[in-house]
Amino acid sequence: MPYTMQRTVEAPMNSEVLENLRLELRRGCLILAVLAELRTERYGYTLRKALAEQDLEIDEGTLYPLLRRLESQGLLVSEWREEDKRNKRFYSLSADGKQILKQLAAEWKSINASLEGIL
């Protein structure tokens, strides 16, 4: 009986911990993915679609504030332009962004290789 109780209390706790860890793991990866996708100029909606096609779903409430933050850090540049009769904000990597992406990609590959060995 005590064993059963412990199981029922811990089950939701574990899924919550897993969810938090999963989000943490994804957060860093998403920044790298966004920077990599913006080697080609895109606007928010097409960027979201491009990421979704690679199975990296990201909601608007995360993507747009992230784009603003990366731009304020000088990694992205943006400009408003008309396309399909509507004004859209196009983002692309800045010179600093390209440099950082190169370094982050190397870091990612190194971590990935290490983890492959560990896992």
Partner: protein, 327 residues
């Protein structure tokens, strides 16, 4: 309008965003939502129904929560609880101000000295600091101990406020706060001054005094001061409230009632020294001139009120007509 819900959603997001980024962020979000709508409509081959628009907006989350993602509020109060915290903090600070203001007005109405009455209002920063501290502490506790609280993001896009017809041309929040403070300070000064004429008339109080009529209509002044402050406070806290005209009408009618009682009184001002013949002549001359002035003011007030009432009735009739013919 086919996409009215989308526009109402964007309006609500915009209001919760920092002022200097409102236009930019809303423009980008509009493009994103319209792109999604267009894609869905293309695949369906027809315009989206209201239910489908609601589903799309629900996926974006409540406007306040979406707007909060653009703020860096991830410290003591996390982004999940922050929208509720912010709403309650603003409400508590507003209520605290009204309580202090009412206390100040009540003291002046009870005949307490002007500065003593005003001190209650000017103690607001201390009260506000205390309110801020308690509310923040309560929410920080909720954040710390209630880590399992996920905060429901259920909202109904159909219940979002209607679209504002044009960008607000009314007073800014700062102007309204300044008006509110001025109205309360002026109200307290006036109510205290009727008890101590020196406050209003200065050295002139040794020559003339208020006639008995001013004390008879004193309750009307208290109501007028409270109504004016309430009207401005409502403009500040509930700018979309449609009942402002009622308060304006009541204030207008009360203003006319004050003028009526003053006109009907024999003596608006009385000599400070009733035995002085010279002062009696002065008071008589002043009262005659005032009667004429008050009558002119009353006629202007009545005409203004009638014109405003007619305009309002015309507008209401126009809206009802448009609703009937479906314009």
């Amino acid at each position: 309008m086919e996409l009215e819900l989308v526009e109402r959603y964007l309006q609500a997001v915009s209001k919760a965003l920092p002022k200097n980024h409102q236009e930019d962020i809303t423009k980008e979000l509009r493009d994103n939502i319209l792109s999604q709508v267009e894609e869905s409509e293309e695949s369906l081959g027809r315009p989206l129904h209201e239910d489908e628009q609601v589903t799309l907006l629900k996926k974006l989350g409540s406007p306040t929560r979406l707007a909060m993602r653009y703020r860096n509020q991830e410290h003591m109060i996390g982004s999940t609880v922050f929208p509720i915290y912010w709403k309650i903090l603003k409400l508590a600070l507003g209520l605290a101000f009204l309580v202090q203001a009412a206390g100040s007005i009540a003291m002046a109405a009870a005949g307490k000295p002007f500065f003593e009455s005003l001190a209650v209002l000017f103690n607001y920063p201390n009260v506000a600091l205390s309110v801020f501290g308690w509310v923040t502490l309560a929410f920080a506790g909720l954040e710390f101990f209630g880590t399992k609280y996920k905060g429901s993001d259920r909202f109904d896009p159909r219940k979002l406020p209607p679209l504002e017809k044009a960008p607000s041309t009314g007073k800014s929040q700062f102007e309204l706060i300044a008006t509110l403070v001025t109205q309360i300070v002026f109200g307290v000064w006036w109510l205290a001054g009727l008890h101590s004429p020196y406050l209003i008339m200065g050295p002139g109080a040794t020559v003339l005094n208020f006639g008995p009529v001013w004390h008879s209509i004193y309750p009307l002044f208290v109501i007028l001061v409270l109504l004016e402050a309430t009207r401005t406070a409502l403009k500040l806290m509930r700018p979309d409230w449609g009942g402002q005209w009622m308060l304006t009408a009541v204030t207008g009618v009360l203003g006319i009632a004050v003028l009526y009682f003053l006109i009907m009184a024999n003596e608006v001002f009385v000599p400070a020294n009733p035995n002085s013949v010279q002062l009696q002549v002065l008071a008589k001359t002043l009262n005659s001139a005032l009667h004429l002035g008050l009558m002119v003011a009353a006629v202007i007030r009545v005409i203004t009120l009638i014109v405003a009432g007619a305009k309002l009735a015309g507008r209401k009739f126009g809206q009802a007509y448009q609703a009937t013919v479906g314009m």
